[in-house]
Structure formats: structure tokens, C-alpha cells
Amino acid sequence: MTDLAVEVRGLRRVYQARRGAPEARTALDGIDLDVVPGQIHGLLGPNGAGKTTLVKILSTVLLPTEGTARVLGYDVVEHRQDVRTRIGTVFGSERGLYARVSVRRNLLFWASLYGLSGRVGRHRTEQLIERVGLAERADDRVEELSKGMVQRVHLARGLIGDPRMVFLDEPTTGLDPVAALDFRALLGELLAEGRTFLLTTHDLDEAAALCAEVTVIDRGTLLMTSNVRDVGRRLAAPDRVDFDAEDNMVLEKLRGSGLVNGVSELDKPGRYRAEATSKESLTSVIRLLADEGITSLSTSPPTLEEVYLQLVGDRGMAV
């Protein structure tokens, strides 16, 4: 037994060839992952990276081909019933609910599937309806709701069993900015209640804002797991200095110094960014700028987005 919320070792998943899909496809190719309890762990990666496959295996609806995965200490194959009673899964899809019946009827149904008695189920249902802000629409059919509202029903559905561990597969796609903020706030509350989250998202700002740790996977392999605060340090990616400059003299001097990879102008006119060649040269760059009388400068490590782009590469639409 371990204290990790999720512990994945050497996980592989191959989708066998079948009618309509003539080639076998390796969706996960030996993944290791640790998720520390009580935090939000981000799972990032381009389309087809294997994120949903991983979430499905962890939520016991898909079997691994090789390797092991434990959730809250229970093996997802051997002890799947123990896993199922303790987790919740939220898929960011418009489907997956009973569209013809009301929000409330959906939640009551799922409540009984998670073993709640009538009274407890009704209570939990009303609580969650309130919590996701659907009190006024609770009697509406799911098919009458907007995409973002459906998303909230999904979230409520995922929480109906009061899970310790929650898997969120792109839960904020289709939410308007305000709703996305509400969602983040709600996630914060749920986190404070001691739950653990594994969140897949394509929104890197969201990941940076919410997650304590992030894992990047691509083509079924792990590229990086890192604390979000230190993510910039994980790479050989250089540190940058942003500064204001009145004339081009400084820029020429910098470029000629051999201390920087390059200098580029930022969105704001007169504001520039120099990329230091190394940690050591960063200090020299700052000294050089100070000697030129430039004091409005700031340094920053690469953002999650920059790290991500460097890891995954500029692949465009290719998958």
C-alpha cells in the first residue's frame, strides 16, 4: 500500500485492430505517474496523446494491456469495485446523460447507482444542483440545456458518490469565461474538502492556475512531470529578461555580447525580451542592462505554455 492517490507503473494500452480499424494502435506506451493526494494534477498533451485512454483505465472502464495502476491504493483491475465506490469521473462531453429527462431525475438515478438510499440520494442531489448553480433549471430536460449547463450536470454527476478522487476529462471545454471561473472556484472548494483531482485540459493557463503538478504526455509516452511552480526550470529553456529600452544601441550591445540567444520586441512598444544563453549569463545580462541605466527590468522563467510548446513541438494540426 502507498499513500499516493494514483500510482501508475509501466502502463500500456493497445487498441486491437477490428472491423473499421484495421491497424492496432498503441495509445499508451509505458506510462508512469504519481498523483499526490489533496491536489489537482494536470494531464496535458496534444490530441491523441492518450489522455482519455489513461483516464478510462484509471476509472476502471478500460483494461490495461500491460502494467499496473492503483487508485487510492486499490488496483484498477483486481479491486475495481473498491475503486468504483471511491471515484467520480467527469467527461467533458455533451453526451453521457439521459437527455430526455430532467437534471434532477438524472442525478437521482446516478445516486442510486452509487448506492445512496432514497433520502440520502435526494439530499445529495439537491445539494449538488445548488452547488453547480442549476437550481433554476433542475426540472428542465438535459436536452434543453446549453452546453455549459450540461457540463455542470456532468460535474454534479461525477460528484454524486462523494468521491475522494475525481477524474476530469476536459471539463471546461465549452464553458464561457465566467462559468469557467466559477468552475475553478468550485474546484478550489472541493479541493479544500480533501479531494484529489486528475484534470486533463488543453487550456494551459487553466492548468497553470489550478494544478499543483502537471504531466505532459505525447503519443502514449511521458514527456515530463513537474511541479507547476518549477516547470520553467525543468527545461533547458533559458530564462528571460524583459526590459524597456529607448534606443537601439542597447539592443545592439546585447546582441553582440554573446550572452543572449536573441532579443525580441514585445507587444508593448519599447519593451523587449532577451533570452539568456544560460543561468550564468543571465546575471551578466542584467548587469549589462543596469550599466546602461535600464532599471525597469524583470526576469521570468519560461511559462508552462512555452515549456509545453517546446516539449510537444510545433506540430500544427498533425497528430
Binding site: 486491437q16 477490428r18 468504483r84 453521457g96 439521459y98 429527462v101 447507482l113 448506492g115 430536460r141
Partner: protein, 257 residues
């Protein structure tokens, strides 16, 4: 017990959905027409022994048709709505959900018995005398159970096998014959009779007829046979549905192999 709660919740879900899509229960509208057709033929014929057939055959036909139609498509439906994975990932069994929904279907379809009876009494002014009400009621209850059990088996079978699915449309009329719904099984050629006896409906239709006769010998064990056949269907169905679940988790899709 939790499994009963799941069955009840699934039953309620089915009823709630049916209320939104009443067309699913179109059979309740067509069944009286069927009954009228049978009744007018029989009335002209004037043979009282076939009268009971005329009254309840349409109901049994509707019941079988509904179970085949809605029961058989139950799991595919969950797949199309993308709720199947949620069900599989929940702590409850998919079989309990399917069975619960089927109970609702069968229960609603059973209203055709009432319709047939009302049609015979009020429209055709026939004297439908149920000599053994106890036998009749028990037959009805046990038959509905057997129907639900059999439909559960079909729900699993239709997902597991493409071939069976192709048969779905042709699984109506042959079964009315095999089930002794239209004519008593005893009138079928002798070689066909053993085949009919593994089909619960053949016993049920005998029992319905028996409940309207003054003599109804051996109804107790006939009822037991219906119950056993229904239970066998249910158990077989639950096993098949577990196989569906295993296939979905193994292949990542509920598509037919």
C-alpha cells in the same frame, strides 16, 4: 438492498423517458386494433373455446413484440447516449439497470391485457368469464416476470451477436406460433411440440386458456415451469450482460465483434 434500489431507479428512469417519448408505447394504441380484428373473426366463427384466444392473444403478441423491440435495443441505446461507460464505471451492475428498465417496459406493455379485456367486454359485448381468477392473476404475474427475464437475455444477446440482431425482425411471428399464442400448441405437428416447450409463452398461453375453463388441472406446476424458464432467461441474460461489460472494457468499444 442496493440491487433492488438500482432496479427500482432504472424502472423509474424508463417510465420517465417513455413519458417523453410516448411513441415508444405505440403498441398500446395498435394493440386494441389487433384485438378488434381477432374478436370480430372469432365472433363470427362462434366457437367459444377459441374465444379466450381472441381476447388475450393480441395482448401476448404485444407483450412479446415490446420486449423484443425495446428490450433488445436497451444496451445499444445506452451506447448511443454514451451513458454505457458511466454505467459500467459505477459500483452497480449493468444487468440490474437493464432488468429494471425491462420491468418497466413489460409492465407498461401489460396494459394491453386490460385493453383487450375492455375491448371484448365493452365493444364486442362478449362474456369473458375468468373461471379461476387466482390462476389468471398468477399466470399474468409469472408471465410478466418470465417475459422480463427473457427480454434481459435478448438484451445481452443482441449486443453480443450481429447474427441474432439480424433475426430480430423475424423473431415475431414464428414465436407467436411456438408460443401457442394463436393456436394451442397441442394443435401443432407433434415434432414441433418439444421445441415449443422450452419457450415460456407456450405454457403461459395454455394457462390463460385453462383459467377460463372449468377444469384447470396441473396449473400449479405449469406456473412453476413458466417461473423456472423466466428465471433461466434472467440468469442467462445477466451472464451475457457481464460478457458485454467485459468486452467493452477489453476492446474499448461496445461494437459487435
Amino acid at each position: 438492498m442496493n440491487i433492488l434500489r438500482v432496479i427500482a431507479a432504472s424502472c423509474r428512469m424508463q417510465v420517465a423517458e417513455t413519458r417523453r417519448v410516448p411513441a415508444q408505447m405505440l403498441i398500446l394504441a395498435t394493440s386494441p386494433l389487433f384485438a378488434a380484428m381477432f374478436l370480430s373473426v372469432m365472433k363470427r366463427n362462434g366457437d367459444p373455446t377459441v374465444l379466450t384466444n381472441a381476447v388475450f392473444a393480441p395482448a401476448l403478441i404485444s407483450l412479446w413484440f415490446m420486449s423484443l423491440d425495446l428490450g433488445g435495443g436497451m444496451i445499444s441505446n445506452e451506447r448511443w447516449q454514451a451513458t454505457l461507460e458511466g454505467l459500467i464505471g459505477s459500483p452497480s451492475r449493468l444487468g440490474a439497470v437493464v432488468f429494471g428498465r425491462i420491468i418497466a417496459v413489460v409492465g407498461l406493455a401489460a396494459l394491453t391485457f386490460v385493453e383487450s379485456y375492455v375491448m371484448a367486454r365493452l365493444v364486442f359485448r362478449m362474456d369473458v368469464r375468468i373461471v379461476h381468477p387466482l390462476v389468471f392473476v398468477l399466470t399474468l404475474v409469472v408471465t410478466l416476470f418470465a417475459m422480463a427475464g427473457t427480454a434481459t437475455a435478448l438484451a445481452g444477446l443482441f449486443v453480443l451477436s450481429r447474427n441474432v440482431l439480424l433475426f430480430q425482425n423475424s423473431m415475431t411471428y414464428p414465436f407467436y406460433i411456438l408460443g401457442g399464442v394463436l393456436v394451442p400448441v397441442s394443435l401443432l405437428p407433434f415434432w414441433a411440440q418439444p421445441v415449443t416447450r422450452v419457450f415460456f409463452l407456450s405454457w403461459s398461453s395454455d394457462l390463460v386458456r385453462a383459467s377460463m375453463r372449468t377444469d384447470a388441472p396441473g396449473w400449479a406446476w405449469q406456473l412453476a415451469v413458466v417461473a423456472v424458464l423466466g428465471a433461466a432467461g434472467l440468469v442467462g441474460g445477466l451472464v451475457l450482460i457481464e460478457r458485454v461489460v467485459r468486452r467493452v472494457t477489453a476492446t474499448g468499444s461496445a461494437a459487435m465483434a
